[in-house]
């Protein structure tokens, strides 16, 4: 999608050399100070409890592998989304329940080679599970064991008295997935007030697993985990996700910033084909110029490395030219005089009196 120069409406076009990177950085950096004073607002009914504001922006821009509060918005197929009951069915399939969520205690009886799991009946009910289901789940998880449902819990006969095996098994039991999608997190049903549609919100980011569930609308389901999107859909999708997340976060804080700035940041972070943070381990740390890196962070490391490897600083960027007192090569400084040094000598100043 290259744009031919002459086909563009030039009235409002950017000019050559415009330092759009700096403008984008300032557009996000300057209101950062304003975000602070907004601690007064109170959460309304609809907003989800997730990282927001400046911490969220920092998290995104740092390219953290896992967001501190992953959230997946799971939309349902048209017909299912209309009915609460059917949405509930999907919820059951998605909602991640582990043994540790429903078990009160796990008792190991080493002399008999048995493990007793005491279940939390209330939790069990709220997750719509039966003790029988749980027991069979355990059998599947551990393999050669027998699990029987008894009063107040499940007895697991390990058929072995090896202490190590029993302890390992009991740890495995606590971690075992009872129902739902691995990594999907705790899911709840929400209702879109505008359309009356039901959808799910879950506190995990395994969209790959969630999308495999029947009844989930694969087109609309999305997450705030940029890396999850990158893994599943690739870099272009990640770029969009990153830009949209930045956009959403700023909008939430009622800060108006043009999309182009946010997507420029997203583009910069993804231009290499992978997601890179903006800090010293990302874009700034990989600059070509030794001086630019040294002036930013970890001064010594970069200088020593440059010396040891005989690096060359091409002196093309902004920082390094400021350091040596040269004009910076962007903006009005990007314009060069198209004349040869040799030809300059031929120029003779005209005698003013002749004019």
């Amino acid at each position: 999608m290259f744009m031919a120069r002459d086909k563009v409406d030039k009235k409002y076009a950017v000019e050559y050399g415009e330092p759009v990177g700096i403008i984008a950085a300032q557009s996000v950096g300057e209101p950062g100070t304003q975000m602070i004073l907004r601690s007064f607002h109170l959460a309304g009914i609809e907003s989800t409890i997730s990282t927001s504001g400046l911490p969220r922006i920092i998290e995104l821009v740092d390219a953290k592998k896992k967001p501190s509060t992953p959230i997946t918005y799971i939309y349902l197929d048209e017909r299912i989304g209309k009915s609460f009951d059917r949405a509930q069915e999907v919820l059951k399939k998605v909602n991640e329940v582990r043994m540790s969520n429903i078990a009160k205690r796990v008792l190991e009886n080493f002399s008999k080679g048995k493990i007793k799991v005491i279940l939390d009946v209330q939790e069990l009910q709220s997750e719509n599970l039966t003790a029988r289901q749980v027991a069979s789940r355990i059998e599947k998880e551990l393999g050669k064991v027998d699990a029987t449902v008894e009063e107040g819990g499940i007895i697991i006969n390990m058929h072995t008295k090896n202490l190590k095996d029993i302890r390992a098994a009991s740890i495995k039991i606590m971690k075992a997935l009872v129902s739902g999608v691995d990594g999907a997190g705790k899911a709840t049903i929400r209702k879109d007030d505008r359309t009356g549609e039901f959808y799910l919100v879950s506190g995990g980011s395994n969209i790959e697993g969630v999308m495999a569930v029947d009844g989930v609308d694969k087109e609309r389901t999305t997450t705030n985990d940029v890396f999850a999107i990158y893994r599943l859909f690739g870099i272009e999708a990640a770029r969009n996700a990153l830009g949209n997340e930045l956009k959403r976060t700023l909008k939430e804080q009622k800060i108006s910033v043009e999309d182009r700035h946010l997507f420029l940041i997203a583009d910069a972070m993804t231009a290499s084909g992978t997601i890179k943070g903006v800090g010293r381990h990302g874009l700034s740390g990989e600059k070509k110029s030794v001086f630019a890196r040294a002036a930013y962070e970890e001064t010594l490391k970069h200088l020593i490395h440059a010396a040891a490897y005989g690096e060359v600083d091409p002196m093309k960027g902004v920082t390094e030219n400021i350091l040596v007192g040269k004009q910076i090569p962007i903006g009005t400084g990007s314009v060069k005089l198209a004349i040869k040094k040799e030809d300059l000598a031929k120029i003779k100043p005209k005698d003013a009196k002749k004019e």
Binding site: G17, V20, I45, V201, R260, K316, V318
Partner: protein
Amino acid sequence: MIIMQTEVIDHIKFGILRSDDAKRLSVVKLTVPDTYNEDGYPIDGGLLDQRMGVIDPGLICKTCGARAKSCPGHFGRIELVRPVIHSEFSKIIYMILQSTCRVCHRLMLSDEHIAEYRSVLPKLEESVEGDLEPQGAESEKGFSGSAAMLKRLKNMKKCERCKASKGKFKFSAPTYFYVDDYKLKPDEIRDLLSKISNEDLAVLGIDGAVSRPEWVILSVLLVPPVNVRPSITLESGERSEDDLTHKLVDIMRINLRLDQNLNAGAPQIIIDDLWELLQYHVTTYFNNETASIPPARHRSGRALKTLAQRLKGKEGRFRYNLSGKRVNYSARTVISVDPNIDLDEVGVPIDIASKLTVPFYVTLWNLEKAKELLARTEYPMVINVISKDGKRKRVIDTNREELLKGLQVGDILERQLMDGDITLFNRQPSLHRVSIMSHKAKVLVGKTFRMNYCVTAPYNADFDGDEMNLHVPQSLESQSEARNLMSPQFQIFSPRDGDVIISNNEDGITGMYLLTKDDSYLTKEQAVYLLSIAGIYELPKASKGDLYKGRDVFSMLLPKDLDFDGVSGKAPFVIRKGRLVEGVVTKDTYGRGNNRLMVKIGKDFGYEELKRFIFTTAKVADAFVTLMGVTVGVREYTTSKRLEEERVKILEDTFRKINKLIDDYRNRKLEPLIGYTLRQSLERMIIAELNIVRDKAGETLLKYETEENAAVEMTRSGSRGSTLNIEQMTMFLGQQATLSGGRIKRGYYTNRVLPHIVPGDIAPGARGFVATCYYSGLAPKDLFMHAVGSRSSEVYKALLTARSGYLYRRLSNALQDFYVTDDYSVRDTNNNMIETVYGGDIINPVYTQFEKMDKES
């Protein structure tokens, strides 16, 4: 005269200094580990040897014959009797030693394997977890010692070429290397390193031509010139040496002792001890924060600041002196308001104007004028004359005649700052580009910089004692750029979202609001007075007898032929043919949201007209406010009896609702919100209810307050204050929040916030809802609640300013090299493409609102 840059730094190559080069570079070999002799004279061969330059203004450098001011300084050297390792390079030495064979001195990989790594440029792998990036430094040859190759080399047991065993290498920070538990001496390491070929080094990414690894084993230490480490004379007459000099003395002392012991044939153990001590001193000389060794300390116990510390960090050479430089031709003082100064002007105190100078380039065509200027003996006069050969002479009464005679084409006069000179005006923190704008100087009496209050917004300035900086651009190019790009009228629209940043505000809005209200009529005198302020000398048609309608007076300020449709509050705001037909001017009609009066004027009539509009309306509004008198006093915030009754009613209503919610919750009758537990649902419902009550109070307030209330009028016009402000003063404060955004809940372990509260109470009052107001005073309990909220937001503010400052630094550092090329793609200065089409539509963000308006029409 042609000033032109013809020699340019094209690139800079880094490398390691060889001992031979160090010898050649230095002018003196230092032998005496001391500084001054008893007479206070620098010792020859000592650390302040005058051949390395001088620092006392009277003395002459023994190498170049120049005085302290012009002598650049010359290096000396210390010849170490035993070589030591430059500890900063230890990790690289370790890497090389591990990768090469001790027997055949080649890289341990066979040629085939090297070729393999060479050919397979690191490919992007599928997984995100793995390292997707080509690792290692890129050498000139375009091949880097890849991480995979280095890892393989590290784990190899045998050399692939000569099959010799590698032995067990161990590295212990900072400078100890062991092989099979034998400690390698620096000279042994040097021998090993020097036998590696440049070709093998190239495979590791090292350019052997400029940085042979054996060069990091030092036998000659270059001593920086004296002016790098000046000694200072204290008031008591005592001399105090620089930290570097101290460290160098240490090195020389041990070096001398080692030399003596070697010559005396001392036992090996003593030699080794001294050698190690020498190593320690050299290590700390380079970096006194080297891990795993104690820092060298000054007598007072303070850690010495050695070479690395000079470069590092915020106060280091790079960030303090190179990225940010101190400048001449600048001034700083307090700012204050002057509505008569135009937006693109700045009032400069005469004291400052007579110190700051602007270059006046003498040419054939202005020679006469230059002479005239030079002859002057008061205010706009010449301070310095810079002759053609670059010598600067100060003009004083005694040499003026002489300079006048010698004045010729090509000279530069430095004259005092005058009206109309372009200057740059700046307020820190410079968070965005409009924190520095160009203003034309206007020389005034007084001691402060004067500015129009309409340009305070971009600087985020106010006049409670703020100081600002003024710079005078010197070259013609920079002056031209300042004039044509940085002037406030070009910055009215923000590149952030295309919205207005420089606009009318405060009294300027109040005045316009009062002027354009429906019942606003002016006498002829008043109308003439107001219009004359704007420089308009004709009157609109009188409309009510001989009274003039306020709107008609306002219309005179509008550009002719302006047509505009907007909204003012909920009523329409209509301008036809430059005449305000309907509507009241408020902050919002001026330019915010969908009301783009400013955008319209800027787009159709240009920036100059827009600037004039802002300036004149502000001036007229000020005059009108002065004429009418607008006062905000306690009366504005006094609770009326009716309002008080209303307040009680509203609160009672809300509390009743909330009590019912709590009752329902206790009786388990509450219908939970989907996705939340019962308790969470209750909390959310209560918070929602408390939000509603605040809005309701605001509405009531506006309903009950009449136009006589100036505070409410200000809120309505949008010039200052919000309903929330008034509400908190006359009705109640509302819910106090904490960091988490929820209601206050912590305090005592008995589950209450204050001891006055019944444990477990979740009623509004018990969880930080303040039902009293500032005017009638806070109840004791409420005062504590308010303090919780205040402290919480104060802490939050402090934490997040630091965080957001760092975010900005990182962002600007990462994105600063990006610019738009002539095919409208965004590239960095190394020509890597970031975006194919800037923003997808190449539109300059400053014009986004213009573009939107075009689309709508």
